[in-house]
């Protein structure tokens, strides 16, 4: 797959998007230089692998949301994102002695906003999802993935499209209520929203 194909597929519908994301995740063309870069920043092999997953996910989100403009520098863009993600990782781990500012990269306000609270939001949203009863989590994840109600109905094996829609609505309401009851998470999300959008 070429850079352009990956980008176009990341912007399209779930199956193609998943395929492109999987390719990006596995391809040594992208993975090797980024892992080498993270290791050179003093990150362990395991941390680098975990962060590589997050980087790929974040690339997928930024491209999907139209925050990336293709200028034949896709790898450089991913490396820049990796730079921000690594900085965020070290800040979150409170590790000193590594790098504490963006080096060899370029300022990108969209990336900065998207990565600023990444680690914190990741663990908080996982925590909130774990509180949801079945089948709320898969319904919401499929909905966020961009699947239609009919597709979700078939995947989760619910009675009808309207029942699926109702179920998704109830689940989302529960999740939002749970988030709103957590003051810290709520203000973090608002801050993230103001910076990111």
């Amino acid at each position: 797959m070429t850079d352009l194909q990956i980008i176009n597929d990341l912007k399209s519908y779930p199956p193609l998007r998943d395929k492109a994301l999987g390719f990006l995740f596995e391809s040594p063309k992208y993975k090797t230089p980024i892992l080498m870069f993270l290791r050179s920043r003093g990150m362990t092999k395991m941390d680098s692998e975990i962060l590589w997953t997050d980087i790929v996910v974040k690339v997928g989100l930024l491209v999907k949301n139209g925050k990336y403009t293709h200028q034949d520098k896709f790898l450089a863009y991913i490396k820049n994102l990796a730079n921000y993600m690594a900085l965020n990782f070290f800040r979150d781990q409170k590790k000193k002695g590594h790098f504490d500012s963006i080096e060899d990269g370029f300022d990108d306000p969209a990336i900065e906003a998207a990565t600023m609270h990444h680690q914190e939001l990741k663990s908080l949203i996982d925590e909130q999802l774990s509180k949801l009863a079945e089948p709320c989590k898969p319904i919401l994840l499929l909905w966020a993935d961009g699947y239609s109600m009919i597709e979700i109905k078939e995947k989760i094996k619910l009675a009808s499209e309207s029942a699926t829609r109702k179920r998704k609505h109830v689940c989302l309401k529960k999740l939002l209520s749970s988030i709103h009851s957590n003051q810290a998470l709520c203000s973090l999300l608002k801050e993230y929203r103001n910076e990111y959008t």
């Binding site: 998943d18 994301l21 999987g22 995740f25 596995e26 692998e49 997953t53 997050d54 790929v56 996910v57 974040k58 997928g60 989100l61 999907k64 949301n65 939001l121 990741k122 949203i125 996982d126 999802l129 919401l140 994840l141 499929l142 909905w143 966020a144 993935d145 961009g146 989302l172 999740l175 939002l176 209520s177 988030i179 709103h180 709520c186 999300l189 608002k190 993230y192 929203r193 990111y196 959008t197």
Partner: protein
Amino acid sequence: MNTHNTDKEDLEPIIKDLLYEASAREKLTSKKANRFSKNLLYTITSIAAVFLLLIAAFQIVPSLSSTNYNEIIAQHYEFPAVNKSRSNNPAVIDQYLPSLKSKNYKEVLSEIRKQEARGIKLSEQDQFIKAHLLFSTDLIDEAKLLIENQNWQDEYIIEELSWLSFLIDFKKKASKANLLEQQKMLPLKYKDKAASMLAEIKK
């Protein structure tokens, strides 16, 4: 109340993004786990295949490189046919002919030992059969001792015992030169057998 609801609605796109990230992360992690379990499966299969090859090689190589003396003996040796004694003094072994026919050599040997322990004297024919029983039950040193210590009289038995002595030394992996010397002294009916046994010894 309205502000609260508006807040909720405002956060929805951000929540959707975060859920999208969680979903993508889950997919990539499971992809990684699948790849890991596939790799693990390949590794285990490869290791098992190598082990199987090694086991097969260890089983084949010794039979190619060294002589299996027991196998050669099994191809050429037969327990002598025993018939009921016709002399006035019946042989002890006569009582155990059915067991001998069914090749229960250990059982017959143990019975003969019991008879000896009771003071019953074994005839030359009994001693000859005992020597074969010892050989057949892998007590070759005892068999050799019996052959050497007995004052054999019967010419037929003496000839037969030269063959058994050859077999004992063959089993004990005596030198080929020694065995060749013995082969020359064997009765004609055993010479060829012994020669082909010697020919099977690998260098």
